[in-house]
Subunit: 328 residues, 2 copies
């Protein structure tokens, strides 16, 4: 009730909205009074009359994977920069991702970004009914064709496969991530397919829970026996798993990387480029992917009827030091 400052209430609204028809003098007077009274406009109320709430929901998976916390950080930065805010959701292990999505849709947000969760078609229908665009980041939903931004997972994995093969590796082990996740599946597929075209390669696959601890455990339990048959090279479907694997190989088995075993990951998280690892990997250009995700979001707002866009972005090969030609 800053109109106790002697002006009408719409005038206050105009004072706070740049570009509204109001005298500079009057605006200044109102803003001064507001500062005096400790008044700030209520954004939720404004979102009622306005169509847009200036809030974007971001649904993340486990932030313990630095790829996701880096991504979230980036989303918050970029969204904040455009005068909007982030409503953050996470999907816990024991949680149904549909429930979380449902929660998010109860807010009249300007859009929902899904970085890690499966979206069922009923949720897609609901979001459409509500007119809230849903964009997939680093993920794709097979049936529903939602706008998606993702890295060329197949291509990147294939390039890593070729590098390791060229370096002399023949026996490969793949550490899979979330079995149901489109990202993990695409990378495994790309890796497998590339090896099929190369001579003498054989591949084994095990599950690593898509986490550091999962990969560590999987590595230990796979090789912790008297006459383990070691592979020449291991591909961790993401960096955090590759790091877990590296720590197990070195810490638990005393193996040397790449002398005893080559190793590669995927994502390009900071940790993987630090001293103990310098992991060979493919970097997902997070900054750019986030930018494009938000572009798709804005696009979805304007041209409703347009076909869902799918943006596939090339990752950057990072050589690292964990792939090296055999000398034997």
């Amino acid at each position: 009730m800053a109109k106790l400052a002697g002006v009408s209430q719409p005038a206050v609204s105009r004072a706070f909205n740049p570009g509204a028809p109001i005298t500079k003098e009057k605006r200044d007077r109102i803003l001064a009074a507001a500062r005096e009274l400790g008044y700030v406009p209520n954004v939720f109320a404004s979102s009622l009359s306005r169509s847009s709430s200036k809030i974007v929901a971001v649904i993340s998976g486990n932030l313990n994977n630095p790829f996701y916390s880096e991504s979230l950080q980036c989303f918050v930065e970029q969204i904040q920069r455009t005068g909007r805010q982030v409503l953050a959701f996470t999907v816990q292990e024991d949680q149904n991702s549909d429930d979380v999505m449902m929660q998010a849709l109860r807010y009249p947000v300007d859009g929902v970004v899904v970085t890690s969760a499966t979206v069922t078609s009923s949720m897609v229908k609901l979001s459409e009914g509500l007119g809230i665009p849903v964009i997939m980041y680093n993920r794709r939903v097979p049936d529903a064709n939602l706008p998606s931004v993702l890295c060329d997972n197949e291509g990147g994995a294939a390039a890593l496969a070729r590098r390791m093969h060229a370096a002399g590796a023949r026996k490969f082990l793949v550490l899979r991530g979330d079995p149901a996740g489109s990202t993990s599946m695409a990378r495994v597929q790309g890796f497998r397919d590339a090896l099929k075209k190369l001579k003498g390669a054989q591949v084994e696959e095990i599950d690593g829970q898509s986490s550091y601890a999962g990969a560590y455990r999987a590595t230990v339990s796979r090789f912790d026996k008297p006459l383990a048959d070691w592979p020449d090279a291991i591909f961790g479907v993401n960096d955090i798993m590759a790091i877990g694997c590296a720590d197990a190989l070195r810490g638990h088995f005393g193996k040397k990387i790449p002398d005893d075993i080559m190793l590669a990951g995927f994502d390009g998280i900071r940790e993987a480029q630090r001293e103990p690892y310098h992991l060979a990997t493919v970097r997902q250009p997070i900054e750019r992917m986030v930018t494009e995700t938000l572009e798709l979001l804005d696009a979805a707002k304007s041209d409703e009827g347009a076909p869902a866009a799918l943006r596939v972005i090339q990752g950057d090969m990072i050589p690292g030091v964990t792939i090296q030609s055999r000398e034997d």
Copy 2:
């Protein structure tokens, strides 16, 4: 407009509010119709009439420090579990934390949790005027007495100092974090004071920007000269800096930890307990600290006039392998 389903509008409201006076039968009918029509209640609108918006703002610093991303993760989990949501804010390097705080206060949130930012007294006044409680997490504001939850930084640092001294260290180096941050200052102070009471200890301090890269650089530039005078032990004011330092010591200088130099950190982040480090450190019990922070928030809501609480929580000493008695 779900009242096209043949009932009054308040009935719909009651159907969605557990415990409201309505026949079970009618509620079911309404909920069914809602599902049919793809209707979900608008939370922002409800926050207008209701006093509470069910939204908590969390202002974080750089999420590249795992301590903060773990904390954020924990906040989101716990807040979500109580049927509320998190509006996430971050303070960038180039940003005024007051501006971010101001942004947050434009939303009629149920509270603001500040995990990394300085809060000026004018912001405190503003928040009081708006009736929005502000709680500090892992931080304290000297002048204003805001409710705060923090670890016993002095005590933890002192304990580490004593351990390293007992192991034979005499020449110490402290890697400071944010010079203006209360957390870094308290730890440095605690470390310094403890050493004063011990025999023959001398301390040098340098700045490490409170980040991995900053600590790495600081370590390199401090010792990258012909006849560097190496200390016996280094205390990184937080784990991420200690890790940066460790990587520099080993990768750049080929030093062994703890054989050549002892090392300790603070926070107890996961990364620091992994194979390459097993860092001696003091763990901040994040889960518990977050719980208490939210308790303070709820308390602030109810008893307005109460004196600001300050909860100091003991950290857990983690032995690690980076402090070890000298044999020479």
